[in-house]
């Protein structure tokens, strides 16, 4: 489903964010991507939806080498990969519902049928009763769930979350994890970058650890520290 082959990414300022990274994530897997701040987690996520390109190596998503697709094919890729950003990237001028609808409107796919998808996504993240609130009227956890609803509304087969619990308290973090697990159970492949030691240790899922841009551990049912 997601395959990286000898991927190296050096930013223009010379930072070697990823160094010869290879890994494979299969369909319907749930994978934690762990490592200290600056390890290269966000960079790896950005490679998957062609938000950036590697200097060498290949990135396959659903058997397509996304480093080789043309500009015009990028939207097609991004419609298959839902991303939850560390800073949520919600539009402050839009309500919760409008933020979720925005995904479908951006691709000209918003209609009577897909507007039901919006209801379903909001129900799944338990925000139906907050649908008309604006982001600044929401708690951190609610904003996070809005971002999740937005990432799943198109029913993407791949869901990528960049430190989704980074700014949340203990209880809210667990709610978020439960939500991602449920989405995974519904059929999505989930890749979640995180710092959260407790969650990784408790969940016992596959753990890929990177440090200084290199994969240092890839363990099924692993804990945070191996």
């Amino acid at each position: 489903m997601i395959v990286l082959q000898n991927v190296t990414k050096v930013y223009p300022n010379g930072t070697r964010a990823l160094d010869d990274v290879s890994l494979q994530i299969d369909e319907r897997e749930f994978v934690f991507l762990v490592g200290p701040s600056g390890a290269g987690k966000t960079t790896l996520i950005r490679l998957i939806n062609r938000d950036t390109s590697p200097d060498s190596g290949n990135v396959f998503v659903e058997n397509t080498d996304v480093t080789r697709i043309s500009r015009r094919e990028v939207p097609k890729l991004r419609r298959r990969v839902g991303v939850i950003y560390q800073d949520y990237k919600l539009l402050p001028g839009l309500s919760v519902r409008q933020n979720v609808e925005f995904v479908l409107k951006s691709t000209g796919e918003f209609n009577g049928r897909t507007s039901k998808w919006v209801d379903e996504a909001l129900a799944l993240v338990q925000l139906s009763d907050r649908a008309d609130h604006h982001p600044h009227e929401l708690s951190g956890g609610e904003q996070q769930r809005t971002a999740i609803a937005r990432a799943i509304v198109r029913r993407c087969p791949i869901l990528v979350a960049d430190e989704p619990t980074g700014n949340l308290d203990h209880a809210t973090s667990w709610d978020t994890i439960q939500l991602l697990v449920r989405i995974n159970a519904l059929g999505a492949t989930v890749l979640m970058a995180t710092h959260n030691r407790e969650i990784v240790n408790t969940m016992r899922r596959r753990v890929i650890e990177i440090a200084n841009g290199k994969v240092v551990r890839d363990e099924l049912g692993g804990g945070y520290d191996g």
Partner: protein, 297 residues
């Protein structure tokens, strides 16, 4: 089909919303475009009037080449056939010695005695040209003067025509320079308006791109905004133009009746349509440039 309509509705809706949010700039850009286009229209009208004058005067002023008595008639016929093919030449007429005399006598029949006294016909035959484009007169006259074996002399009422042609050339050059400058200003103002619109919506744009919007879906509203500014500016200009023609042109024609100002409906209509098209094109180009530059899509 419904998907396409959806896209169209989104693109148009987003464009109108963007224009409204940014209404001060929008208004400024519309007014600039309108001013540019009114100037363009005025220039085209003045230019047309000058051209009309040149043509009208040119038609009246023939070139007359007096044929030598000993010129071979077949050679003269040959030259006349050649002249008829030349661009700018309207009509070529041969006036025989007898015709010349008759015309002379008709015009000055008081002096019929003079001819009687002379006993012979002193008037030469001539080739007379009626011009479509007087601008080619000087060169043509020189060419005919060079044929000394055929023509005695060549007469051209040049002065007025030449002066008019040069005025019209100067006006064309000045007008063109002004139009180029004003178009540049309009392009700049529209591009800048769109740049600000892009900046105001940079967050939306970023997310649209990240969730899989196509380049054209992101660009579309901005290009439509620019085209719309051009269109509204052009419509204002066209309305001003029509009002001006209805109010002003008849008055001018009454006062200075010899000015061949084009007052006919089809001229004004064509000019209005042309202006609207120019507005649309300038608006679209201005926004496209800005979108390419600042949107990075």
């Amino acid at each position: 089909m419904t998907a396409k309509l959806n896209v169209l509705r989104y693109v148009l809706g987003a464009a109108m919303l963007g224009l409204w949010r940014n209404r001060t700039m929008t208004l400024g850009a519309v007014v600039t475009t309108a001013v540019m286009l009114v100037t363009l229209a005025a220039f085209l009208a003045i230019n047309d009037t000058l051209n009309e004058m040149v043509t009208a005067l040119g038609r009246k002023s023939n070139l007359i080449a007096y044929v030598r008595d000993d010129a071979r008639p077949s050679r003269v016929t040959e030259i006349m056939q050649d002249l008829e093919q030349r661009p700018g030449v309207g009509e070529v007429v041969f006036v025989t010695k007898e015709d010349a005399l008759r015309i002379f006598q008709e015009r000055f029949f008081d002096q019929r005695d003079v001819i009687d006294i002379l006993q012979a016909n002193p008037l030469p035959a001539s080739v007379e040209l009626r011009m479509d484009d007087p601008a080619v007169l000087p060169a043509l006259a020189d060419e005919l003067r060079g044929m000394t074996g055929v023509f005695e002399s060549v007469a051209v009422p040049l002065d007025v025509v030449e002066r008019l042609v040069s005025i019209s050339n100067v006006s064309r050059a000045a007008g063109t320079a002004m139009i180029v400058a004003l178009t540049a200003v309009a392009l700049f103002v529209i591009a800048n308006t769109i740049r600000i619109a892009v900046y105001a919506r940079r967050q939306e744009i970023e997310i649209m791109k990240l969730v899989g919007a196509t380049d054209w879906f992101v660009r579309g509203p901005f290009i439509i905004e620019g085209a719309f500014i051009g269109l509204v500016g052009a419509t204002l200009a066209a309305v001003a133009l029509v009002v001006m023609y209805l109010q002003v042109a008849p008055t001018i024609t009454r006062i200075i009746s010899f000015l061949p100002i084009a007052t006919d409906v089809s001229f004004v209509r064509n000019l209005a349509v042309f202006i609207v098209l120019v507005g649309l094109v300038v608006g679209s180009i201005g926004s496209y440039v800005s979108v390419r530059r600042y949107l990075a899509v």
